[in-house]
Assembly symmetry: C2
Homo-oligomer: 218 residues x 2
């Protein structure tokens, strides 16, 4: 009975996601859904991407949080349109849904953007079950989280179109081996591209940009 309810929810979510995808395609918008644990550095990565695409691509952001507008305030400073979704209003939801994205899109002029970045709720489990009409799902994993995380939270890594290993600058200060992260990600998803970056020092950001650019012209 409980499983039935969940299945119905996911199916109705998918129906909305398909409509979103069609609508974004019509406007030739490339949409990316960024998912991760809390504190992996998603917002900082988005700030870097906005800087890099300045004067090249017009970006809009949908910012998902449980509470506060802290992240959207950070991003709005970069002069891009940002729509905040706080799920606490909807009972503290642990993931974004296609229905929430559809509502948020009402506040974005689709004819005036080229890329849509969706920052999902910080949660390495639930957001993975909800399609949002995006072109790509990108999973961010901070190397402070422990290299076994892809094995312990496999679903996110199974569905990933790319994995970003962030905070690579901290490697010398951790009892962790970056190669173990790569090995464990590959064990779950052998072909997924992995980008080792530091949103603090800029290391690896250009390679990530190349991946986006290649996918947009697909």
């Amino acid at each position: 009975m409980k499983i039935k309810v969940v299945k119905d929810l996911l199916e109705s979510n998918d129906a909305v996601a398909i409509n979103i995808k069609k609508r974004l395609k019509k406007y030739n918008i490339f949409a990316v859904n960024f998912m991760s644990s809390p504190g992996s550095g998603k917002t900082r990565i988005l700030e870097k991407l906005i800087e890099k695409y300045y004067n090249k691509k017009r970006i809009a952001i949908i910012e998902g949080d449980v509470a506060t507008t802290l992240d959207s305030e950070r991003l709005a400073k970069h002069n891009v349109p940002v729509v905040q979704i706080d799920t606490e209003i909807f009972g503290g939801g642990c993931h974004l849904t296609a229905g929430l994205i559809e509502k948020a899109l009402q506040d974005i002029q689709l004819s005036e953007i080229d890329m849509l970045f969706i920052e999902n709720i910080g949660n390495l489990i639930c957001p993975g079950s909800y399609n949002l009409g995006e072109d790509k799902k990108v999973i961010v994993l901070s190397i402070t989280e422990g290299s076994e995380k892809p094995l312990k939270y496999p679903q996110m890594f199974r569905i990933a179109d790319a994995v970003i290993l962030n905070k690579i600058d901290l490697a010398p200060h951790l009892d962790t081996n970056v190669d173990d992260y790569v090995k464990n990600i590959k064990q779950i998803n052998a072909k997924v591209p992995i980008y080792k970056i530091s949103a603090k020092t800029n290391e690896g950001i250009d390679e990530l940009i190349k991946w986006f650019d290649a996918d947009m012209t697909e």
Copy 2:
């Protein structure tokens, strides 16, 4: 309709949790539910607590994960009884429930333990809604996650009986201020005790032990 389903689930969970609490009380067992984002260092903290309580208190562990037995293997090396719950078998659940704890307790000799440590699924949202019959809820936050996290995920900090700020040894390498973490936790839960520790260097572990010991004799 969806909200009704969730409400029913929480109420039936609470009924089971009350029974667990009674049963643990009967055996004079002190139970702690550790909750956090993935990678905050819960397992390593448990390893330290097991070491510190060696020959003083008999500990059992219930280890919650989505997948793998990696953490329970780590903990079992310390010669304590460990019961693993992998929620992927139940559809990839994002939190432990009282029903799962009740099942796990069938594999623990309650007359032979003094403390039960429950390591919840790594998730800073969903586990906060499910009572497990524990005496104390302890939230672990790594100082790599960003000091605004208590504001962005307030529910976990509202219900916390104590907050552990872990990985304090990394402070010199981060653009973060430990005082900001304390300030933001207090903004959500003014009276909650906060323990700044490093499960790597042992800093602060003894203060945490004192808090447990004081609570056990309450």
